[in-house]
Symmetry: C2
Subunit: 163 residues, 2 copies
DNA sequence: TATTGTTATACTCTATAACTATA
DNA sequence: TATAGTTATAGAGTATAACAATA
């Protein structure tokens, strides 16, 4: 257990708290906007946006779940919700009959289009407004490095428990 | 509605996504640790930690809610949970009988103490490990500025709705 | 009348485990 | 046997509105 110094110094603590708080506030604000503009939760927006970016316009459930930190049952729940609203379709794949291909409908794409400008506006006003261009570049670089590191790091909290 | 450019360029988008993702991953990891080590949600930890930092060791419900983005009923819910577990006490204030003074119990302080080392370890391993000292300083400075800006900005999503 | 806090209630989301069907 | 996905179910958290009590 390599825990050298027991405590965080004020600078470290400051960076930690600032990250948690800005992340929360930004996400909360974006969530509000998505809800108001399109009745979407953030996760639902992410699912639609991921589908929108998909080359074929369709993905398997498992592919959709990847990166969105999801239990499969949670994804099924959201997919059902989005399908009921007519924003996506689900169909069994011809290749592998176990898998389900998920695709954006025209209406789904419309919702995405409708929601996007406001989404961007919130990010601009809340996150980018107080920053200079070099600030944004440095921030993206630093947090990008942190993100890559976090992705590599095994979700250590899960390991010691089951299995 | 000053939305100059409709889209975010790659650098802006990168900073935005990196912030959302690192914030989520870090919070998720910390939440896991808090749950495993002390059966606490992040919000519960924040409540206990806020009480722990309070000069008198006790705060009014309203003071507790401030900054933790809470509906009052949500705070009541968490306070009930924490009180049942014996981590806090609630008592009517002698001064103003409408208010409730919340205080950390000895056991509450113990849980906080028990949970803290692991909490710090997670922050170190996930956030601080891949960063140099200047990185951390710059990151804290930049995000601190963003946080201050976000706090000032009225929760615009709430304004247009009710009263 | 305004403020503090609770209650009732409903809804969203998440997670686990059991289950079905295909490979 | 392993993989893809669904279902059942339960639990945590959140929000709104109505309410009671005090200032």
């Amino acid at each position: 257990m390599p825990s050298d110094a027991p405590n965080l110094d004020p600078v470290e603590l400051g960076a930690y708290f600032a990250l948690i708080e800005t992340g929360s506030l930004l996400r909360h604000a974006v969530e509000q906007q998505l809800q108001d503009a399109g009745g979407l939760s953030y996760v639902q927006f992410q699912l639609l946006a991921t589908l929108g970016d998909a080359p074929a316009g369709s993905l398997r459930m498992t592919d959709l779940a990847d990166g969105l930190v999801y239990s499969r049952s949670g994804l099924t729940y959201q997919a059902q919700t989005l399908e009921k609203r007519g924003l996506i379709t689900r169909a069994p794949s011809p290749d592998d009959e176990r898998t389900v291909q998920v695709a954006l409908t025209t209406e789904g794409r419309e919702v995405l289009t409708r929601v996007f400008p406001g989404h961007i506006a919130v990010v601009r006003e809340l996150l980018l407004a107080p920053l200079s261009r070099p600030d944004v570049e440095t921030l993206g670089g630093t947090l990008g490095r942190v993100r890559d590191h976090m992705r590599q790091t095994p979700p250590r909290s899960a390991a010691p428990r089951r299995r």
